[in-house]
Symmetry: C2
Subunit: 226 residues, 2 copies
DNA sequence: GTTTGTGAAAGATTTCACAGCG
DNA sequence: CGCTGTGAAATCTTTCACAAAC
């Protein structure tokens, strides 16, 4: 069962999340069995990819039949570490931080926002519209310790990003979701996932420029061939 | 100069964004020249990677010297299509949509939020705290046409995601930044970048579970060796 | 019959290492 | 001399294709 000889790639992990969501939907639809082909068609990817991803963690299928939806979903929940409670602290009670703290997508499935912290005295002691208490950034180590929160979401201004990341690390948190535009530097034992809005928008800008260039080239080619 | 024989990968595009941000910082620091090694050290990646990425688009360096910061920055701006104005429409005036519409990271550098649209009659006609006008979703095609906006940010509830994506596509927009947890399906000529918060959090959960497992295994091994 | 799990092949990406230029 | 630009090598990822299992 323990097949952790090879390191699991981030891409595989990301796809496990996708499989999980798909299985949750299938279960809700009352479907009891599926196959790597069935999943692959729904998710627009190769069926061998799905089998390979799952093979990193064990054998979950029945040959000639496929996978039991409920069972496979449970396995992936376990693999991803979602069977125990996971506490999240949002750092930065600005518009984005507040919106993230109240984000309904986080509710349920063992993940919960335990607190929102900020340096602004006017906000400390209040609660978000969704009921998340706002506390002092100073209290971060204490809150982390008492609640057992293991994930921090960084939603502070760029100028504060690195310093706040350092505080988060010092408070013992080892997993960070970074919403600032700064690629914060942390020790190797801490994992940072960077949600970089600038990069996303610039990726779309590049796509649009390519479209525009291709169209122009096409027009010119057509004009030239006349 | 035109070397578009090979398709440019998303990974290369994402790194161009990173190079751009780094060059902007260097320029602000008053540094005039840098090298692939200098950039690589700052960005924690391989210098050949940077040279290969740039080689897709031309030759921008000076052998024996490196790159002129200002010039290379201008080249990347051009490559990414950031030299002309890019309008963004945010769809969904909930907490997240409003926060994104006012997000300061988007301001400047040719990118601007032109409007926020929603179906909620109570919100239509208002403005966000940052001054972005809220208009009716019905007006989306008209707003897109009049403002020339080319990018839509989806920040609607999951139940509305696919239907709203269809409307966005019908209004002529070909680039979407999807903040919903739904992997929306669109025609092949439309590009969607999916910011999937669930996937990000689950990636961190997996990392934490691995940490916990490794620590436990280590403890057991130590106990066994006594 | 069908579908899994998996070696082997193909493809993509990253890194090395060096010729050639400034 | 130092650094770019780039083939070749190494590495990583995806896909193929089929034996084994139900």
């Amino acid at each position: 069962m323990r097949k952790r000889a090879v390191e699991i790639s981030d891409q595989t992990t990301a796809r496990l999340s996708v499989y999980l969501r798909c299985l949750t939907a299938l279960e809700k639809e009352g479907i009891q069995y599926t196959s790597s082909r069935g999943l692959a068609e729904r998710l627009q990817l190769n069926s061998a990819q799905i089998r390979k991803d799952l093979a990193c963690f064990g054998e979950f299928g029945i040959r000639g039949v496929g996978y039991a939806v409920r069972d496979l979903r449970g396995q992936i929940l376990r693999i991803l570490g979602l069977t125990r409670d996971l506490g999240i602290i949002v750092v930065g009670a600005g518009r984005l931080g507040t919106a993230l703290a109240d984000y309904p997508g986080f509710q349920g499935e063992s993940v919960r926002i335990v607190s929102l912290v900020d340096v602004d005295r006017a906000k400390i002691g209040q609660r978000t519209a969704g009921g998340v208490p706002i506390r002092s950034l100073e209290k971060l180590p204490e809150i982390a310790r008492k609640t057992g929160a293991e994930i921090a979401i960084l939603a502070v201004p760029r100028s504060a990003a690195q310093e706040v990341a350092d505080r988060v690390v010092r408070s013992g948190i080892k997993a960070i979701l970074n919403f600032t535009p700064v690629p914060v530097v942390v020790p190797a034992y801490v994992k940072v996932n960077h949600v970089d809005l600038t990069r996303e928008i610039e990726g779309l800008a590049f796509f649009l420029r390519q479209l525009a260039t291709a169209r122009k080239a096409g027009t010119e080619a057509r004009a030239a061939s006349r």
